[in-house]
């Protein structure tokens, strides 16, 4: 087999990744870089990267980048896009960033139908700070702040924020995918391509939730992490298109 594009142009050369072995961030980074190239938007793109393991994403993406305060990515992206509608703007956020501290910004940017894309990495934990509970942590899942496993009584239930924003009329496209093997990775690329195209076509807000392995904090090897996504995580967070209003948005214009 030959690799079609061995090194996407919007991925920096000669950098050593800081992500743990088997981490999903690196996989999604590569996908994003490929899609930026294939849709030819990298030259006018700005990525807002989060506080979280992807805080160093600017070491890898060879496009203009703005770091965000924890959770505020979609507010910053709003400011960029409204100020410069000709730019292609997307955020890249973890589940703590997007669905805990940044919930209000997530909800309201989606509800305003901002013309941005959101890449939402759901790894069910806070990776960067050492594996604490996230809003997405599964019931019974052990984390450093749920040492006996998450209980609904104390910590509530896993938060399905993408399903929530998918109900908003301003959201043009929402899909949940998983990097849990070659098929899942291909589907993730298709979903991100669709999301990016949605912004290029001026059809509104799109969000792609990616179930993504964090082998370090799950205390699994990378193969078992893939399997855990398929067997456990995807049962709580089913894969699929959550909403597709692109036609409707186009008709509305």
């Amino acid at each position: 087999m030959t690799i079609k594009n061995p090194w996407p142009i919007y991925y920096k050369k000669d950098v050593i990744t800081h992500y743990c072995p088997g981490c999903g961030h690196g996989i999604v980074h590569r996908i994003v870089a490929e899609v930026l190239e294939e849709l030819d938007v990298g030259r006018r793109a700005i990525c807002v990267n989060p506080a979280g393991c992807a805080v160093l994403a600017y070491q890898y993406f060879d496009i203009d980048m703005l770091e965000s305060a924890h959770g505020r990515g979609t507010a910053m992206a709003t400011g960029i896009k409204r100020s410069r509608p000709d730019l292609f703007v997307f955020t890249y956020q973890g589940d703590g960033d997007l669905s805990a501290i940044g919930t209000a910004e997530t909800i309201h940017s989606a509800n305003r139908g901002e013309q941005i894309c959101v890449i939402f990495i759901n790894n069910a934990v806070y990776g960067m700070t050492g594996g604490q509970m996230a809003p997405t942590t599964l019931i019974d899942m052990k984390t450093t702040t749920t040492p006996k496993g998450r209980t609904a009584r104390v910590d509530g239930f896993p938060l399905h924020i993408t399903d929530v924003v998918a109900t908003f009329p301003g959201v043009a496209y929402a899909e949940r995918v998983a990097v849990n093997g070659p098929a899942g990775i291909n589907r993730t690329k298709k979903a991100i391509t669709t999301a990016f195209q949605t912004q290029i076509d001026g059809l509104g807000y799109s969000i792609i939730e990616v179930l993504s392995p964090c082998p370090t904090n799950w205390k699994l090897n990378s193969i078992d992490s893939f399997a855990w996504i398929t067997d456990v995580m995807a049962k709580e967070f089913p894969i699929g298109v959550l909403v597709d209003r692109r036609r409707k948005q186009a008709d509305a214009d």
Binding site: G42, R43, R44, A45, I46, V48, V55, L56, Y58, F61, D62, I63, D64, M65, L66, E67, S68, A69, R72, A75, M76, A77, T78, G79, I80, K81, R82, S83, R84, L87, F88, A104, E105, I107, H108, R112
Partner: protein, 360 residues
């Protein structure tokens, strides 16, 4: 342009638009709602952006986003809302991004009330968010000055790539006065550091994260050098009837107007009192006060707080003269008569001390 009659809040907005501000983000809070409302009504006419954000936190982060593209961006709020903006202001300082933040102060702490107050001086002048930074702070005391300082604030923000705060209070926000606006500025020079997509050039990033402590220290000292430049060039203050003044009041914003009223009364009776009015609160007109200590024995600090600018005055005076304080916190607006009584009493004490000294 001819004179118009306008409130302070509307004036901040109109002056910002004339200064080329094309992005305003804010969340309603009294006593500054008219500022956002004016932006909502007028931004679209100049092709600008107005968003009523979901919170003050979101607003300041929208400002960061817009500022990162080189736009002149602004947000405004009142005390509780400005507390929520502090994380974002710290990021602006770290990123070295220009922006203008208007705080129309009200009584506090907590929700406090909606009456004019000056309790946010520490927060404004000490870099109210986390980390080692400063924010230039300008304090207008009339509607005309609100217009003038808004234009200056945007220029200073761009020149030094720093967030700038305008510190007003509910009184200035609400009063209506005649004001003459400067003509709208033309095209602004392009900001070569702004993010605009890499195009065919190298990519750029703005990050405040500097994990290497030695590099972070370097960044901190770099910011300090910038703050030293600002301290050298951007001090502004008004000297009112100081030439022969034996007692000098120090007050800013609305309180300074009230103090002027008191001084005008006393001057009718030939009582030699004057006013030093800091217009820039940071950088503080420290040298001007030090100069005065060469001949003035007594200063009286008036504030609508329990004594915050007082500390800057004490730092400048360094024991070389007597410093008295009179404050009305919590939204109480003092009167000129109240101030004039205090000034007169202190003048009498000074006289007595002098006569006593000459007899001995």
């Amino acid at each position: 342009m001819s004179k118009v009659f306008m409130s302070g809040n509307h004036t901040f907005a109109e002056a910002a638009i004339r200064a080329g501000c094309r992005c305003y983000f804010g969340y309603p809070i009294t006593p500054q709602n008219e500022l956002g409302e004016y932006m909502a009504a007028n931004m679209a006419n100049v092709g600008g952006v107005f968003i009523q954000s979901e919170s003050e936190t979101a607003a300041i982060n929208m400002v960061i986003g817009a500022a990162s593209t080189g736009a002149r961006a602004m947000t405004s709020s009142s005390s509780p809302g400005v507390s929520l903006k502090q994380e974002g202001i710290s990021f602006l300082a770290g990123f070295e991004l220009p922006a203008v933040i208007v705080n129309v102060m009200r009584g506090g702490p907590g929700l406090g009330n909606i009456a004019p107050a000056q309790g946010d001086y520490f927060q404004a002048t000490r870099g109210g968010g986390h980390g080692d930074y400063r924010t230039p702070v300008f304090a207008p005391s009339s509607v005309q000055e609100a217009a003038d300082l808004t234009a200056i604030a945007f220029d200073v923000a761009d020149r030094y790539r720093t967030p700038v705060m305008i510190l007003a209070d509910g009184m200035l926000g609400q009063i209506r006065e005649p004001v003459v606006f400067p003509d709208p500025i033309g095209e602004l020079p392009e900001k070569e550091w702004a993010l605009k997509g890499r195009g065919d050039g190298p990519s750029r990033y703005m990050a405040s994260l500097i994990l290497d402590a030695l590099e972070m220290e370097k960044h901190n000292w770099k910011l300090v050098r910038k703050y030293e430049e600002i301290a050298k060039n951007e001090v502004r203050c008004e000297q009112f009837m100081l030439d022969d003044a034996e007692i000098v009041a120090i007050a800013y914003g609305t309180t300074a107007r009230i103090a002027k009223g008191a001084i005008n009364r006393l001057r009718k009776d030939n009582i030699p009192v004057g006013l030093l009015r800091p217009i820039s609160l940071w950088p503080f007109p420290k040298n001007e006060i030090i100069d005065l200590t060469k001949r003035v024995r007594k200063f009286i600090v008036f504030e609508m707080s329990t004594g915050q600018m007082l500390e800057d005055v004490l730092l400048a005076v360094q024991g070389r003269a007597e410093v008295q304080f009179h404050g009305r916190p919590g939204g109480v607006v003092p009167t000129p008569i109240e101030f004039s009584r205090i000034l007169y009493r202190e003048y009498q004490i000074l006289q007595k001390g002098r006569n006593g000294a000459s007899h001995s």
